[in-house]
Every structure is written in C-alpha cells, then in structure tokens.
C-alpha cells in the first residue's frame, strides 16, 4: 500500500453557452457523470470540495442538494482561476490525510457574455469633490490612469516583460501561439470554439490590449468539470476495470507567490509556477522531457509563452525558439494545449483547473478519439489564478491490467 491518490472518475461538460441552465445544473451534470465514470455514487464520497468563483458562496451545498445530501464535510473554495485545481487539491489532501477514501471535486462557472474581467472604475460619488480613498488614497479610479487592471492588459505586459528580458518575441509570435490552439480545438468536440483561424485572421481581429487581439484572449463561456479521487488502498478493492482506467496523481502541488521585487506592481506569474513545477517533478520523479502532453494556463497567448519556460519545457529564456521549433503543436515533441486551451476550448474559470485534468486523463486512458496523443503515458496540467495561486498536477497512466 502506498499513499498514492488516483483519479477514479472524471468528466467535463461541453464548454459553451447554456442560457437555460444555471451553475447548479452544470455542476450537477459534471458531478454525476464523474461519479458514473468512476463506477461509484455520492454515498461512497467522504469529502466534497467545490468552487464557483463568480457565483458567491455555498456551491458545494447547492450541489449536494441536487445529487445527494449525505452529510459529509463540504468545502467551498475560491482561488481565482486556480479554483478548480484548488478543489481537487483539497479532496486529495483529505485522502492523503486518511480522513476519506473517496473525494469529489467540482468546478463550475457561467461566463458567456461576461466581457472584460478584472477591470473597472470605482462608483461615482454624488459630490464633485476629490476625496482620497483606499490603500493608495486614490482620488479617482486608477484603471486607465495608472496602468491597466484589465486581464488582457496585465497578461500582455507579462509576455512583453519576457520579451524584454530574453528577446525573440513579437506580435506575430504571440499570434502564432493562438493559431496553434485554435487549430488544436478543431478536434475537440467539447471546445466552445472549434473554428480554425489563420494567422492573418488572428492578427487582423479586434485589438484588445497589444499584442493580444480578441482570439488571443481566453474565451468566456459556461461549463463545469468534476473529478472523483480515491486512495490507493481503496482502489485495490475495486474492479479490475476501475483499476485499469484509474489515473495516478503522481504530483498535486498548489503554491502561492513568494515575494519578489515588483510582484505587487505587475503580478509575478513566473516564480510560483517555477516553484510548483520543481516540486511536482521532484514528487513525481519525472522530468519535463518525460511529458507526453501538457495542458497549461493560456489565459492569453502572451501567457502561454512564459509558461513554456516556467514549467521547464524549454531552457531558460528559450521559450520563443522552443515554440518556433514546432515543439508545442500536437505533432511536436511536447504537445501543449491539444484541447485548444483557454483561448479556444474556453475558460469557465472555476471549471478550468479540473477540465485540463480531464483532458490529460482522456489521453492517458486512450479515450481521446480523433485528437488522441498516441501512446500517452504521462501528462501535466497547470493553472494560475491571479493574486496568485498556481496548481500543477502530474498524471500517469495506470500500470494495472
């Protein structure tokens, strides 16, 4: 017996627009399907962790009321774009602690038509008088006056900063990353968008925050994902078929950002990802060259580039050359975001950190159909939530049966 934890069942809804269904409907669909995929029921679960970033609190109990109020501990988690990974990490920790044999993690979001995230002014006062408020004593909204609060702008600067440090970046390079992901999603029936886009179309589309045009930004959409995790000891009591399809969680890491100069001026998404990746590789006993596929947090095309480096997929400073070599296309040496990524598959925030694990599991189980990465045995899933939180999971195919 080991202290390994396994993914027993996992599911993601199709990402897209669901005008007639609410977050509880979508979360319930994902949870019930993940339970069915694992051949278990709500009665088996010892712990539930769930998140819905924009939906207020209490999603876990709302889900229980739809699929089974069994009285187990329920954790409502919120960790920006890493909310889903945090729910999963919470369930995994409960199993590692010996508090539960089975756990359920759920992430859901409704974001279709949500528009620009992160930005916004402060409410207008009735009085026309400059009045300092907040921790900076600001007399006016600072968004647009002292830099940008908008996510496309913040992550544009993240990519530009990498270019300043190491060179090799350009508007065209970032657009080519988006071209890859929009091409990959044509094979993913669960993606919000499955339309191939040419480089010209991407570069010629509406500019949001240079160098990110609209298709280079994550797609706001609705969706949910859920995973059932199980202890190693319990898995060994289950059927051979359940054991064969189980995916080993070789590393489950969650980090926050260690202090760095400037990290409170421009969010530092690099250091905490590097720390998480290093811990994950050590824990799993594998290296970046062993990965058959990677799902990383391409909330913007400018972000995908820096994470090639942060996850150690290329040598330090070599992300642009690494991408230009074709390595991250689905037929390359390290396929990245074969699902289409956040730019094309979509980014219903709290669902993302479980949906990317579903994608990796799907390939490791050999069930990914037209977009199957042949012979995939090990994969990595990464998410970043600004603030910041980073989740890295390394997953391995079962050696049972």
């Amino acid at each position: 017996m080991s202290d390994d934890v396994w993914i027993l069942g996992i599911y993601m809804t199709k990402f897209g627009k669901y005008p007639d269904r609410d977050t509880v409907d979508l979360a319930s669909e994902a949870a019930l399907a993940a339970l069915a995929d694992g051949g278990v029921t709500m009665k088996d679960m010892g712990v539930l962790a769930a998140g819905c970033l924009m939906g207020g609190g209490g999603i876990a109990q709302q889900i229980q009321k739809q699929i089974g109020q069994t009285g187990i501990p329920a954790f409502n988690v919120s960790n920006a774009c890493a909310t889903g990974a945090t729910a999963l990490r919470t369930a995994i920790m409960a199993i590692k602690a010996g508090e539960a044999d089975f756990g359920l993690a759920v992430g859901v979001e409704k974001l279709a038509g949500a528009g620009l995230l992160g930005a916004g002014g402060r409410p207008k006062s009735d009085k026309n008088e400059w009045t300092p408020s907040g921790r900076y004593g600001a007399v006016a909204s600072t968004d647009g006056r002292i830099g940008t609060d908008s996510m496309p702008g913040v992550f544009a600067q993240v990519g530009m900063e990498y270019g300043h440090k190491y060179g090799g970046t350009s508007f065209e390079l970032f657009a080519k990353i988006s071209e890859k992901n929009h091409s990959h999603s044509t094979l993913n029936p669960k993606a919000a968008y499955q339309k191939k886009m040419t480089l010209e179309e991407i570069m010629g589309d509406m500019m949001i925050a240079y160098p990110n045009t609209r298709p280079m930004c994550s797609a706001n959409c609705d969706g949910a994902a859920a995973a059932v995790v199980v202890s190693d000891a319990k898995l060994k009591t289950l059927s051979l078929e359940q054991q064969r399809r189980a995916i080993k969680v070789s590393a489950s890491i969650l980090t926050s950002d260690p202090w760095q100069e400037a990290c409170q001026v421009l969010p530092d998404v690099n250091t905490l990802t590097k720390v998480a990746a290093k811990q994950a590789y050590e824990k799993a006993g594998i290296g970046p060259s062993d990965l058959d596929l990677v799902e990383l947090h391409d909330c913007f095309a400018t972000a995908e580039l820096v994470h090639y480096d942060n996850l150690g997929l290329c040598e330090e400073g070599g992300a642009a050359a690494f991408f230009e070599s074709g390595a991250t296309w689905r037929d390359g040496t390290t396929p990245v975001n074969v699902s289409g990524g956040l730019e094309s598959k979509g980014h219903p925030i709290a669902a993302t950190g479980i949906a990317n694990i579903w994608e990796v599991c799907h390939h490791l189980r050999g069930e990914a159909g037209d977009r199957q990465i042949e012979g995939a045995k090990v994969g990595l899933a990464h998410v970043i939530g600004l603030g910041s939180a980073c989740g890295v999971h390394i997953l391995e195919k079962s050696s049972f049966g």
Binding site: L116, S141, D149
Partner: protein, 132 residues
Amino acid sequence: MAAQIPIVDYLVLGDQPHLTAHECTSCGARYFDRRNACANCSGTDFRHVNIATDGEVRAFTIVTFAAPGVKVPFVSSIVDFDGTSARGNIINVEPTPEHISLGMKVKLATYSLGTDDTGTEAIGFGFEPINN
C-alpha cells in the same frame, strides 16, 4: 495658487514631483501602499523613500478595449526606476507599437485631472519618453 491633491498618496507634488514608497527598514522591500508588515520579511518598521524619476520601460501594453468609463487607447507600462518597479501610463506619446519600445527611457511627468467644486485640482502622473 489653487489647492492641489495628488491622484494617489504616493505621488508627491511640488517643484520636483516624484513617487514615494514605504521601505522596510530591515530588508529594503518597497511598497506604494501602507503596510501592516513586510511581505518579504514580516518586519513592521518602515521609512519613506523617494523613488528616482528617470527609468526604463520593462513591459508595456496598448489598451484599446477597456471597462466602461476608461478612456482608450492608453499605454500601460511597468517601469524600472533604479531597481524599484512602478506602474503607470506612458504619456505624451503616440499610443502605437511604432512609438513605444521595451527598454525605452522615460521620466515622471504630471498633468491635471481637473478641478472639483471646492476649487481643488487633482494631479495625475505618467511616464513620458526622454528625447535624447
């Protein structure tokens, strides 16, 4: 002269406008907002330091789509002022990729945000290119 108020309390007005920061006396970490303790070393003792007014652009973006009420286009940037990074708009420049480059030299500049009903003028700041 009418009263003036800075857009944020870390902008110091006067003959030579500049930014100021709270510096941790034990580790030297700098913060533009007030602090309960240092995020780097948990020290609780801070002193005011003036930030250099000449710097180098480390990252920028040209925002052409923003939240309602935010005027576009504008250039957001992260500028290195002698080892202290600050965020602000690059002003007094065409907001196009041809006119802004990584590594370009800029200096702090101020401008009026308007006058309120009491006659107080709010002053904003940005970074403008240094023409060599």
